[in-house]
């Protein structure tokens, strides 16, 4: 059980002459360092790293872990993040010695096992997305977005279409979309959402032009709504010579139900750590493979893994490749987990994943509508967005609701996103949660709504039961303290 209050920093636990390591003994004759290095390159003052014994180190981090929420700790309905259960077998597979100690720069014959997994995952993801080629190189979803966009850029340039400098992004999109477009050297152009929460077709017709390089869409979108006009959107954008880019953040809702490739998308990125249970690890590492249709394949990052007979090969012969976006072959240990998951689920399992994720989301949505405002009243996919406008009228903002939810033992949903919903609460339960968990969560949110009317301060002062109270984020930004300073210890002792 975590204690209330702050924990000492590891630097504050440091005591001279303690250590927690066991290095192999040097068994050669030691040379004087000054014979090996020019004096100006020998560090004069040691870096102030902690000095701590092994047990004290373990206790330090165990204490920190007890102050941290993970999916194994409890329900984590963070919209757009797909916080599903992380199967334990994945962790065992990732730690298999043959994979964990495999070096990426060995001769092909020495890395056949790793290349085989890479190839097999490429094949599975092609089938799941309906795309013609997959590259696993991108390190994360945002890097995948960017990689696909620079490929699209290279495609247009190869066709002499240098004027295609704009990427269309819906106003409800993840913030990474416009950021990736910009970093890829495009101008991000916004297309509005209509009253139903989907892309406004008239506005799309207005913004699309011969400058359009691509449109970036997640489908279902960030409101959890399926872009049912997707084929019309496809025709408009393709008609103008642009490409359709699929943001795979929400793929969990549609696996085995509809494939991005079949909807007309030309490029996709996937978030393996979301849909395919790479654990999120406190915000990473992730993995962001991309998939493309055949006409974009010649621009894929190098190298690509191929199979020849029974041998797996690295193909560097991609003449129009956009180059390398990451050294080596991507975040292998993450896609090893994804591969294990796919093999654990099979085709029927993956279909049930989508169905149950969507069922769970609709169930909570219907139980909460009324008490909380539901801005888009239609079936949702794997997530949905509520608005806290009713509660705001009573004096509590969505932030307050979220903080009070912590007292009930639930991680709050994503809040204030997407930007086009006032006081938004974006809820994604995933398929791995039981009905009892969903009911408990719904009851807590209904109770909080009652508390706002009966005992407002209780909610405004929340959280009450966490190890630390509400933190002053303004102070942190105004007077940034981004590292520990040794004199802080002295100050506190004064």
């Amino acid at each position: 059980m975590a204690k209330k209050g702050s924990s000492p920093l590891i630097f504050e636990r440091s005591i001279e002459d303690r250590y927690a390591y066991s290095l192999p003994k040097l068994d050669i004759e030691k040379q004087d360092l000054s014979n090996l290095l020019d004096d100006k390159f020998i560090r004069k003052e040691k870096a102030e790293l902690p000095e701590i014994s092994e047990l004290d180190l373990i206790r330090h981090y165990t204490e920190l872990s007890n102050k941290n929420w993970g999916i194994d700790t409890g329900f984590y309905p963070l919209g757009s993040c797909t916080m599903k259960y992380n199967p334990k077998i994945n962790e065992q597979v990732a730690r298999l010695t043959g994979f964990a100690t495999s070096h990426p720069l060995q001769n092909e014959k020495a890395i056949q096992g790793s290349l085989e997994i890479t190839y097999r995952l490429q094949e599975s993801l092609k089938e799941i997305t309906g795309m013609d080629e997959i590259s696993l190189q991108s390190a994360a979803g945002a890097q995948g977005e960017w990689t696909a966009l620079i490929m699209i850029k290279a495609f247009h340039e190869a066709n002499g279409d240098h004027q295609r400098t704009e990427v269309i992004v819906p106003d409800s999109a993840h913030g990474t979309n416009p950021a990736s477009a910009t970093v890829a050297g495009f101008k991000a152009v916004t297309v509005k959402s209509n009253e139903d929460g989907t892309v406004d077709i008239e506005d799309l017709k207005r913004v699309v032009s011969d400058k359009t390089a691509a449109i970036m869409l997640t489908n279902p979108n960030t409101l959890g709504l399926f872009e049912k006009d997707i084929l019309e959107i496809r025709d408009i954008v393709h008609g103008a010579g642009g490409k359709l880019y699929y943001d795979g953040a929400n793929l969990n809702a549609i696996m085995a139900k509809v494939r991005p490739g079949d909807m007309g998308f030309d490029a996709v990125h996937l978030n393996l750590h979301k849909t395919f249970t790479g654990p999120h690890g406190g915000g990473g590492p992730g993995s962001g493979p991309i998939g493309v249709k055949a006409d974009l394949a010649e621009f894929l990052p190098k190298p690509h893994v191929k199979k020849e007979g029974d041998t797996f090969k690295l193909d560097n012969d991609i003449p129009n490749s956009v180059g390398r976006v990451k050294p080596y072959f991507g975040n292998f240990a993450i896609y090893l987990r994804a591969y294990t998951y796919i093999k654990t689920m099979g085709p029927e399992g993956l279909k049930k994943v989508s169905e149950d994720a969507v069922l769970n989301a609709n169930y909570i949505m219907r139980r909460l509508e009324g008490a909380y405002h539901l801005p888009f009243n239609q079936h949702c996919k794997h997530e949905f967005v509520l608005s806290g406008v009713n509660q705001k009228k009573e004096g509590a903002r969505t932030l307050d609701v979220a903080k009070r939810l912590l007292d009930y033992g639930y991680h709050p949903p994503t809040i204030y996103f997407p930007l086009n919903v006032e006081e938004g609460l974006m809820i994604e339960p995933t398929e791995t949660e039981s009905k009892e968990t969903l009911d408990g969560f719904v009851d807590a949110l209904l109770n909080i709504d009652k508390e706002i009317k009966e005992d407002l301060d209780l909610v405004l002062e929340a959280p009450h039961n966490t190890v630390i109270g509400r933190l002053d984020e303004t102070q942190a930004a105004r007077h940034p303290v981004l590292r520990f300073e040794r004199e802080d210890i002295v100050d506190e002792k004064k």
Binding site: S6, T101, K257
Partner: protein, 447 residues
């Protein structure tokens, strides 16, 4: 039938459908246009039971030749180092590995404090005042340094040493190409950067001069001289650095570097076929608001307790959107944690001891090669150096596998002038016997 990860039973489903007011789950998918709906089952293999799957994957993993089965002298950016046993024990705690980005600080103090400690450790090692919560890896961090420098200086060219890792150079070119930043590469003088050429290339239009320390060939670059070249025309000085090496070598911050990046794989992260590793990014205070990636800052709660939050988020993609300084939204938190644990376990004296053992072992190996009649290139090294062979390195490496060795990197794959040259890494894990036997075998194959 349900699946062990999927708790919704038929009975649950019926009750939930009643609340929703529909008869069949498929009604929830009716908004997907009929003509594009996926019918039937995906063409992937049927689900496997846990035991069979584990056996199959273990069998595939055993097809790899690795540093667990062979004595490895291969580095070139990914190294075989001691990983204290506490590292895996702690990162296996699911409160860490199943957590997401700490958006709710009250229930994420563990993660936030661990990142704050990581930032401090990196700042200490690099000799710069601030560091972020991590980047994808060293090479992409270095590349982001280039685009950040272009933004900060409003100049459109970067000068990169020809002695940076060739794959890193490719990544820099990919990143900068998209933003129309020109990359010019300085020639080599032996196994270090040709400083005269570097000076010729760096001019008024140069946003940054970028070098690796120790460089790809294991040689130590003269940062004192390069700093002057970088700052002469008001460009930034960016150094990509092995964090283990700089626990013993004078840190780039002390040589006036504005940005120091690198990869913490050397601390607590297995090679795992090249990823995930963990990049770091440190900079001067002046550049704080331009830094890519996440930052954790210290603050307090209502009762005055010290606490930590994600801060300066106005730079980031979820607020600034198209005006963001970078599109990075995740980090490598779990691997940063692994590195923090390894750095803390080694501690103030252990990191230096480990670094020194690398230098000592590498030096011993260098001398052993020289005594055996090999030509060894480079003067001052950390734990890698170049040996000239008479034959194709890749072919020799194939032979060495049979003897239980993973040979060094074939430099001929990237550099015409280094055909038949092997880049050899000797870490603290290689014993005298292993080194002697390796030199002996290589001598035999070299003819």
């Amino acid at each position: 039938m349900s699946h062990r990860y999927l708790p919704v039973t038929e009975k649950d489903k019926q009750e939930m459908l009643d609340v929703i007011g529909i008869k069949d789950v498929n009604e929830l998918f009716s908004d997907i246009p009929e003509e594009v709906r996926f019918k039937g089952d995906l063409n992937i293999e049927p689900a496997k039971d846990e035991y069979s799957l584990m056996r199959e994957l273990t069998r595939i993993s055993n097809k790899n030749i690795t540093s667990a089965t062979h004595s490895s002298f291969l580095g070139a950016g990914v190294y075989d180092h001691y990983i204290p046993s506490v590292v895996d024990s702690i990162i296996s705690r699911s409160e860490f590995y199943t957590a997401y980005t700490p958006y709710q600080p009250e229930v994420s103090q563990g993660e936030l404090q661990a990142i704050f400690e990581f930032q401090t450790l990196i700042s200490e090692l690099t000799g710069l005042p601030i560091a972020n919560s991590s980047m994808y890896d060293g090479p992409t961090a270095f590349a982001e340094g280039a685009t950040m420098a272009a933004g900060a200086t409003r100049k459109k060219k970067v000068v990169v040493s020809g002695a940076v890792h060739p794959q890193t150079l490719e990544v820099i070119k990919t990143y900068t190409h998209a933003q129309n930043i020109e990359v010019v590469v300085a020639d080599l003088d032996g196994t270090t950067t040709d400083l005269k050429h570097l000076e010729e290339l760096a001019d008024e239009d140069t946003a940054a001069v970028m070098v690796q320390y120790p460089n790809f060939f294991g040689s130590i670059e003269d940062l004192e001289a390069i700093e002057k070249i970088a700052h002469k025309h008001k460009g930034l000085f960016i150094v990509n650095s092995n964090p283990l090496a700089i626990s013993l070598l004078t840190p780039p911050g002390e040589f006036g570097a504005d940005i120091v990046t690198g990869d913490t794989q050397v601390f607590g992260i297995p090679a795992q076929f090249g990823g995930p590793h963990c990049g770091y990014f440190a900079a001067t205070k002046k550049l704080m608001r331009r830094m890519p990636g996440r930052l954790v800052g210290q603050t307090q709660d209502d009762d005055g307790n010290r606490g930590f939050v994600l801060t300066l988020q106005a730079r980031e993609q979820h607020i600034r959107r198209e005006k963001a300084t970078s599109n990075i939204c995740s980090n490598q938190a779990l691997n940063a944690l692994a590195s923090s644990i390894a750095m803390s376990a080694l501690g103030k004296y252990g990191v230096v001891e480990m670094a020194e053992n690398n230098i000592q072992n590498a030096h011993y190996a260098k001398e052993a090669f020289k005594s055996a009649g090999f030509e060894v290139l480079g003067d001052m090294n950390f734990n890698e150096f170049v040996v000239k062979l008479n034959k194709d390195v890749t072919e020799i490496n194939d032979e060495l596998y049979e003897d239980g060795f993973i040979g060094g990197y074939d430099l001929g794959l990237d550099f015409d002038e280094f055909k038949n040259h092997m880049l050899i890494a000797v870490t603290e894990l290689r014993s005298k016997d292993e080194i002697d036997a390796f030199v002996e075998r290589l001598g035999a194959y070299n003819g």
